[in-house]
């Protein structure tokens, strides 16, 4: 426990060992090497997959450099979103202000790339040097005839969650600005899937088979014109609830669009998501098609999953992810592979998220909010896990200690959503846990030595 800073003690909970209490949704302690990024990061990850929009970072170069083409969000058409644009503010701009540069940059880039909309990310120093980003956006929007949306994502103004909110504010300005004549009453928006490795294409296909129209995807494989029509959909399905709940709530308020929280990871959650959507429409045919779909898919994947389960049974896993929604699904998905979750945490979970995790997890599981490398390393050692699921920043912690690792973040190249995604997941977990390389690592060797001595 010595690894945990005093001001962080209440952000770690051990199920069974103490009465329930967990603090979350607070600013990271100064000096703590948090795995979180900042407000800008929250906005950037949410809006990035909108493929036919121009994304320009207003500020010094770093924020644009570090976010150039870093996500595995795929597009079925335009590739504009993969380019990194920045006003690259310099010393003179800091002194004189950056508005003129932003105006010129926006105009030239819109002329060159003809985007459907532009998002302007204001980073840390923009407000401090006195730039009126809203005014520049308004002017360019009028002159160029496309929406130019300011995203107020100054890094220091809160946490990543505030960045989600800023992104949702920008999206909300787009929704409701196009006619919805071609929208069916049997229709949904997919919120909070980012089409990593093409996952949204899998989900869209399911809805097609069910006879449900997908109006807009927010934001995976996203298109500005689809988002403008999103208010026409009968239902919002919200996956990454941390990032997209603001938008779902705003849409409910303004357009009366109801929403449901879903997840597409793991066979249980995937089936549940489809049934939830089908039942919403109270349409017998849709429900029948959904039953048929789930049956067909399960028939395909279950026999193979059983084989993986046989091998993986009893293995222990740790999970540390950005949003807690993903953690729920992962705990269940691992359970369906016969594996137990010994540690689970997230960067941005809410009180309700952690309560749900507490109910879901076994006794002894560590639940942690906004953790850091030293804590995570000590938890991995303490729990002696076989697998760690996280993102790029967690990977070297696992690998250094000779623990298998699965990337469940933006950089993965295999689709993990949907029924077929569960097979990919099982395959990757299997390859990560069963690799012969672990037998050569110091941790395994010293374990063997201890066992031998005993």
């Amino acid at each position: 426990m010595s690894e945990i800073l005093e001001e962080r003690q209440r952000q770690v909970y051990r199920k069974g060992a103490q009465s329930y209490q967990i603090e979350c949704d607070k600013q990271s302690a100064s000096g703590s090497v948090s795995q979180r990024a900042c407000v800008f990061c929250g906005s950037r990850v949410v809006l990035y997959p909108i493929a036919d929009a121009l994304h320009i970072v207003h500020g010094p170069i770093g924020c644009a450099s570090y976010t150039w083409d870093i996500r595995g969000s795929l597009s079925s058409g335009p590739e504009l979103y993969r380019l990194s644009f920045s006003t690259d503010l310099r010393e003179m701009d800091v002194v004189m202000g950056g508005e003129k540069k932003l105006y010129a940059a926006l105009c030239e880039l819109i002329d060159a790339h003809h985007p459907k909309a532009a998002f302007v990310y204001a980073t840390c120093i923009v407000g401090i040097i006195g730039d009126d980003v809203d005014a520049v956006c308004k002017r360019v929007s009028q002159e160029k005839g496309i929406p130019v949306l300011p995203v107020h994502s100054e890094g220091f103004k809160g946490t990543k969650r505030d960045g989600y909110r800023a992104a949702c504010d920008a999206l909300f300005q787009l929704v409701g600005t196009a006619p919805i004549d071609d929208v069916s009453p049997l229709s949904v928006n997919i919120l909070g899937d980012f089409n990593i490795a093409g996952e949204i294409w899998i989900i869209r296909e399911y809805f097609k088979r069910m006879g449900i129209q997908v109006v807009a995807c927010l934001t995976g494989d996203g298109r500005v014109d689809e988002i403008r029509k999103a208010h026409g959909a009968a239902l919002n399905l919200v996956q990454c609830s941390g990032s997209m709940m603001y938008l779902a709530k705003s849409m409910k308020e303004k357009w009366g669009t109801p929403f449901k929280r879903v997840s597409y990871f793991g066979i249980e959650d995937m089936a549940q998501a489809l049934y939830d959507a089908a039942r919403f429409f109270k349409n017998r045919e849709v429900l029948e098609r959904t039953r048929q779909l789930v049956k067909e898919e399960l028939d395909l994947v279950l026999p193979q999953l059983t084989e993986y389960r046989r091998v993986l049974k009893g293995k222990k896993a740790a999970i540390y992810v950005g949003g807690a929604f993903k953690a729920f699904s992962l705990v269940r998905a691992l359970r369906s592979l016969g594996m137990q979750t010994a540690l689970v945490g997230s960067q941005t979970g809410t009180r309700e998220d952690y309560e749900q995790l507490r109910d879901l997890c076994d006794e002894g599981t560590i639940i942690v909010d906004d953790s850091n490398p030293l804590e995570l390393a000590s938890f991995l050692e303490e729990k002696d896990v076989d697998l760690f699921i996280g993102g790029v920043k967690e990977r070297p912690i696992a690998f250094k200690l000779g623990v298998g690792f699965c990337d469940h973040n933006h950089e993965r190249k295999e689709a993990l959503a949907g029924f077929e995604g569960m097979l990919n997941f099982a395959r990757e977990v299997h390859a990560s846990v069963m690799s012969p390389v672990w037998s050569l690592t110091p941790r395994k060797l010293s374990e063997q030595a201890k066992e031998f001595a005993a």
Partner: protein, 460 residues
């Protein structure tokens, strides 16, 4: 007047205000890598939390090693009233968790813009008796709106030397070696070379272990290795310093500081890639050690030239685009020029003002054949390269999209390499590193020719 054709703005190409796919990173990233190469040290950014997280992610993806960077985690209040409280709390927290011997505190655009005087804040902190016995605190001014990651890297090395070096009696056989941003393998090679000359080198920074370490049983809070602080303290006891970088000659650096402050002769050389630039480096070591180049390295040089002869026909007249950090670009240009490849475009996001003349100085046989561009981004590189019809690109993995667009191979060198494993183990320097680069360049060209041929030659 430079012998090389320099084009700062090419009239036939688009001229954008925006930076499009930057060919540079911001200053605090360079400082963080440099600090990671000091024993027991921890990088710390005075600014928003995202800076540290993004840079960690970026560095981890190259080295595939843990890379902890702490941050003061500014909030709105610290932005308005100053970040002193965050800074102090951050130092306390990091000290209690990591027990570092040294913390390198780099600024960011945010802390610089609000005018934080970090040096002053730190001296107040150190004056407080409650904080005595804590880690050495080294302030580094690295505003992200000025220069690139290389400016941050050099600023960090200079700051550490300034803070720690003190007057010392000269000790024979001791040298300082400031290599700039090179790979972990390069650092190991440099240590070996110095040892072979019987020199005791203070290599700063040295992240050959900290960013390319071994598999472990228990997690190290701060990885083992790095330049020992005691060695840095006695930097002034060396008989001279060797520093790589032709494009940093105009600025104050660690080597120039030790020269003006303590009278240590500074050997400020180009990055030793290729026979000619490496000869200059070995010549400097001969002078400093009073020994001739050991047989091992003489034979590496001999084998390299033998290989040049074996491979010359494959590469002569081929056209390359080189991009990346300015001093890496200069080193690669020197190497390619001496094997008969024309580096038709030498490009960097850096803006030292010295790139064109440095490239010209190392490519005398190619007068007028090289376009040099400073302060360039990848989309401009792509536009210019389209006109120059290169046979291959050489640089970091960030040129992958350009290579794909042009349909030519990319030879990955330098930092970062995010789409392959082992970037930290690529050897670039010296006769040995050049040998590996040469084999790779030749084989890349041969492989292309073999693939493109309908015959299916089994001898090339």
């Amino acid at each position: 007047m430079s012998a090389t054709q320099t084009i700062s703005r090419c009239s036939s190409l688009p001229n954008f205000v925006a930076t499009r796919n930057a060919c540079k990173l911001c200053a605090p990233l360079g400082a963080s890598i440099a600090v990671r190469g000091i024993e027991g040290a921890l990088p710390f950014l005075h600014g928003s939390q995202g800076c540290a997280t993004y840079m960690r992610r970026y560095i981890i993806s190259h080295f595939r090693e843990p890379m902890d960077i702490a941050a003061s985690n500014f909030n709105e209040a610290s932005t308005i009233f100053g970040g002193g409280a965050c800074l102090y709390q951050g130092i306390k927290n990091v000290t209690s968790q990591y027990h570092p011997a040294l913390i390198g505190i780099a600024t960011t655009c945010l802390s610089e813009t609000i005018g934080e005087d970090v040096a002053l804040l730190l001296s107040h902190y150190e004056e407080d008796p409650k904080n005595s016995g804590g880690p050495i605190l080294v302030p580094m001014s690295t505003p992200s709106y000025s220069g690139t990651h290389m400016d941050g890297f050099h600023a960090a090395v200079l700051a550490v030397i300034k803070k720690l070096a003190s007057p010392q009696k000269s000790v024979r056989g001791r040298i300082n070696l400031f290599p700039g941003l090179v790979s972990a393998s390069d650092l190991r090679y440099l240590k070996e070379v110095a040892e072979d000359f019987a020199l005791t080198a203070m290599l700063l920074p040295d992240y050959s272990d900290t960013l390319d370490g071994q598999a472990l049983d228990t997690y190290n809070k701060i990885p083992a290795g790095g330049t020992p602080i005691a060695s840095i303290r006695s930097a002034a006891s060396a008989i001279g310093s060797v520093e790589f970088g032709r494009t940093i000659l105009h600025r104050k650096t660690a080597a120039s500081f030790l020269e003006t402050e303590f009278g240590l002769p500074a050997h400020r050389l180009g990055t030793p890639i290729g026979v000619r630039e490496t000869d200059i480096f070995f010549h400097a070591l001969e002078q400093l050690s009073g020994r001739v180049t050991p047989a091992k390295h003489q034979s590496e040089r001999g084998r390299l030239i033998d290989a040049y002869v074996d491979g010359h026909k494959y590469v002569y007249g081929k056209r390359a685009v080189i991009y990346g950090e300015e001093d890496l670009v200069v080193g690669l240009a020197a190497f390619l020029a001496e094997i008969g490849v024309v580096p038709v475009l030498c490009a960097s996001g850096g803006e030292s003002g010295l790139l064109a003349q440095s490239v010209a100085a190392v490519t005398p046989e190619l007068e007028g054949k090289i376009v040099v561009r400073e302060g360039i981004d990848f989309m401009s590189i792509a536009e210019q390269a389209q006109q120059l019809a290169p046979d291959f690109l050489i640089g970091s993995s960030k040129g992958q999209s350009v290579a794909r667009q042009l349909g030519v191979p990319l030879i990955r060198v330098g930092f970062p390499i995010h789409d392959r494993i082992g970037g930290q183990r690529i050897l670039h320097l010296g006769y040995r590193g050049t040998q590996q680069l040469f084999d790779q360049v030749v084989n890349t060209i041969i492989e292309r020719k073999q693939q493109d041929s309908p015959i299916g030659y089994s001898y090339m």
